[in-house]
């Protein structure tokens, strides 16, 4: 069934990069409303793909179609080349870990995990053996086998849900924000464990979340969804380093966005006064109007004589501690700019609040929309 791959083995997706799931023009209409609009996506065998988007972006609808709980209104979903649009969930070699986890409250931990085996008609002794094996994989102690699943803690239930899905031995595992109800520390720990399990089992994981932070930690690739469309698909580095538009860049985290207009060879600020130097847009488009996106950590305070491609004058009116970093809110005219510095580079307590901030063109994105 499933075997454990040594931790030092390379990720499975590196070796076999064939598409296991293929979506072509997938659409889902609810009445006159398109929850999912024309999605094309190739999911590679063994990869950890995360679909991320705000609530209402259609990511859960997409997942329900992949799991077989909803049927697409248009388009095709193929699994290893086989059309599975109308294949019911109980016949698909896929398994979903629900947001609510959907554990069976009247069954023990072991019975929950072995449910898929019971369905297949596996005898009780083998079921127990297999359940214990899987409990070790998800780091649950053996004596939990007979424990009532409702008496387990949040993190333990998470592991039970995971083991139950593994017991089905699916080719693809879907996750519908299963970590969203957990506290921050546990969530962080489980994110890493999930990543480890992905590598150890070599299965294809498709994960849905609204938190890009979660996606960044775990994924091989990230797909960003907005209003039913996949806006960008790429590695975490690509999403972070080369967002295709303002939506993606702002979704990645807090950013400074400045609107600019071009007059000949010069760019003029719309929200802030001055002329600015812009890096050429990544797609090489010729723009008359552009948005410059600068991450707060690429902004810095300029002392007299410091050089920077672009500069703005303003006044610090707020500062927040982010632990090891400090975020400053600097008012430049009507616009508020964010500057994030490590504690070592913080403004001295007595320093003037009237500051000059600046950034280099190469550290910012120039986007058309």
């Amino acid at each position: 069934m499933f075997q454990t791959i040594p931790a030092d083995a390379p990720p499975a997706h590196a070796a076999t990069a064939l598409p296991i799931l293929q979506l072509v023009g997938v659409r889902k209409m609810f009445g006159g409303f398109a929850a999912v609009e024309g999605i094309d996506l190739d999911v590679r065998e063994g990869e950890f793909l995360t679909i991320v988007g705000p609530s209402g972006s259609g990511k859960t609808t997409l997942l329900r179609m992949l799991a077989g709980m909803d049927q697409p209104s248009e388009g095709n979903i193929t699994l290893r080349g086989e059309l599975i649009n109308d294949m019911p969930p109980n016949r698909r070699p896929t398994c979903l870990v629900f947001q609510s986890l959907a554990l069976f409250p009247h069954k023990s931990v072991g019975e929950n995990i072995a449910f898929a085996l019971k369905v297949k008609g596996v005898d009780a002794a083998t079921r127990k053996k297999r359940a214990l094996e899987l409990m070790r994989v998800v780091r649950l102690p053996d004596n939990y086998h007979d424990k009532n699943v409702m008496k387990c803690s949040g993190g333990e239930r998470q592991r039970v849900a995971l083991a139950r899905a593994f017991a089905y031995d699916p080719d693809v595992l879907f996750f519908d924000e299963p970590l969203s109800a957990l506290d921050y520390k546990l969530k962080k720990a489980l994110e890493k464990e999930l990543k480890d399990l992905h590598r150890e089992t070599g299965k294809t994981f498709i994960y849905i979340t609204h938190s890009l932070e979660e996606a960044m930690v775990m994924s091989d690739r990230i797909g960003v969804m907005r209003a039913g469309k996949l806006v960008q698909v790429g590695t975490p580095e690509e999403i972070y380093g080369a967002p295709v538009d303002r939506f993606v860049s702002e979704f990645v985290g807090e950013v400074n966005t400045l609107k600019m207009t071009r007059a000949g060879a010069e760019w003029h600020g719309v929200d802030v006064p001055g002329t600015f130097t812009l890096a050429p847009p990544k797609d090489g488009a010729a723009l008359d109007e552009a948005f410059v996106v600068i991450r707060p950590e690429y902004m810095r305070f300029l002392a007299p004589g410091d050089r920077a491609d672009n500069r703005l004058s303003g006044a610090v009116y707020n500062e927040y501690s982010l632990g090891s970093r400090i975020q400053y809110q600097v008012r430049v005219g009507e616009k508020v700019m964010l500057v994030e510095l490590s504690r070592a580079h913080a403004l001295a307590p007595g320093a003037s609040r009237e500051v000059t901030i600046g950034w280099d063109a190469a550290d910012a994105f120039t986007l058309g929309s």
């Binding site: 709980m69 109980n90 609510s100």
Partner: protein, 301 residues
């Protein structure tokens, strides 16, 4: 008026203590406690006392004898037959209703959609009409030259079946009367089965039958059991169906009790019978309730 005066100026230390001891909760519970004391506890005490009184007398609280009970357990007495009819018919009613109500309850939850509300109301509606009136309605339906018989004759058949005043029609009447009491707890029970769990079971490869056996039925069981208990308790005490529809083709235990209190004027015997039936039903109810996890049923896990 006297109470208000007392509250303003308590006269003795004992009264002050008393006024302080009565918590808000106790005060709020007062009206229902009084009602239960007079309307529920007092008759029970009276019945219990009468069951130990001298047979065929009204010497309640003044005499003590076990004769009434001894009479019931005398092999020569045929009261056990009435008891058997009552319990047997109640069990049959529960079994029939479980089978009939389950599909309706399932439909109300998962199939009927926006019609579910209206259909529920239709099932409640008969409860607004007195049970006896409804049963006489059925008599008119089944009686010779009645609705069924007359219609069949008019259509050219040889007439309706002669079912009135048989044990069978008594059972029918009981199933009809107690349907809502099975249906609504069952519907509630089924409503408490989370949709996610059914989806999850299906996703893990289970088919319809397996999902029903492994997930839906066990999770809906508290509601189903409450429905069964309720209908059983009501059906054991049923008397109108046997009398009106069954035409006394069978005698049920509550009918015996009624006779003892009315025609034979033997209150101690009727009381003893009532006590035996009450103890039997109470014991059964307690056993069933001890197996129920009401907290889970109400989602307070």
């Amino acid at each position: 008026m006297a109470d208000i005066a007392l509250a303003r100026a308590p006269e003795t230390a004992r009264e002050i203590r008393h006024a302080r001891r009565l918590s808000v909760g106790a005060k709020c519970a007062m009206p229902v406690a009084v009602l239960l004391g007079i309307g529920f506890l007092a008759p029970m005490v009276a019945i219990l006392a009468y069951s130990f009184a001298t047979p065929r007398s009204f010497d309640v609280f003044r005499s003590f004898t076990l004769e009434n009970f001894a009479g019931l357990f005398d092999p020569a007495n045929t009261v056990w037959l009435s008891f058997a009819w009552s319990v047997g018919f109640a069990l049959f009613t529960v079994a029939i209703l479980a089978v009939v109500a389950y599909p309706i309850a399932y439909g109300l939850n998962a199939v009927f959609g926006r019609w579910a509300g209206l259909i529920s109301v239709l099932f409640v509606f008969p409860l607004f009409v007195s049970e006896n009136v409804r049963l006489y309605g059925w008599v008119l339906f089944f009686i010779k030259n009645g609705v069924l018989d007359g219609t069949l004759r008019w259509l050219g058949f040889s007439g309706g079946p002669e079912v009135l005043y048989t044990p069978g029609v008594t059972l029918f009447g009981m199933a009809y009367t107690y349907l809502p009491f099975m249906l609504f707890p069952m519907t509630l029970g089924l409503a408490l089965v989370p949709r996610d769990l059914v989806d999850a079971a299906r996703d893990l490869g289970a088919g319809r039958l397996l999902i029903w056996r492994e997930i839906e039925l066990p999770l809906a069981m508290p509601g189903i059991l409450i429905g069964m208990l309720l209908t059983f308790v009501l059906a054991v005490g049923a008397t109108a169906e046997a009398k009106i529809l069954g035409g006394q083709s069978i005698i049920v235990i509550s009918h015996d009790i009624e006779i003892a209190f009315t025609y034979s004027q033997n209150w101690p015997l009727g009381s003893a019978l009532a006590v035996v039936v009450s103890v039997f039903i109470a014991a059964l109810t307690l056993v069933a309730l001890s197996k129920l996890d009401l907290d889970r049923m109400l989602g307070r896990r």
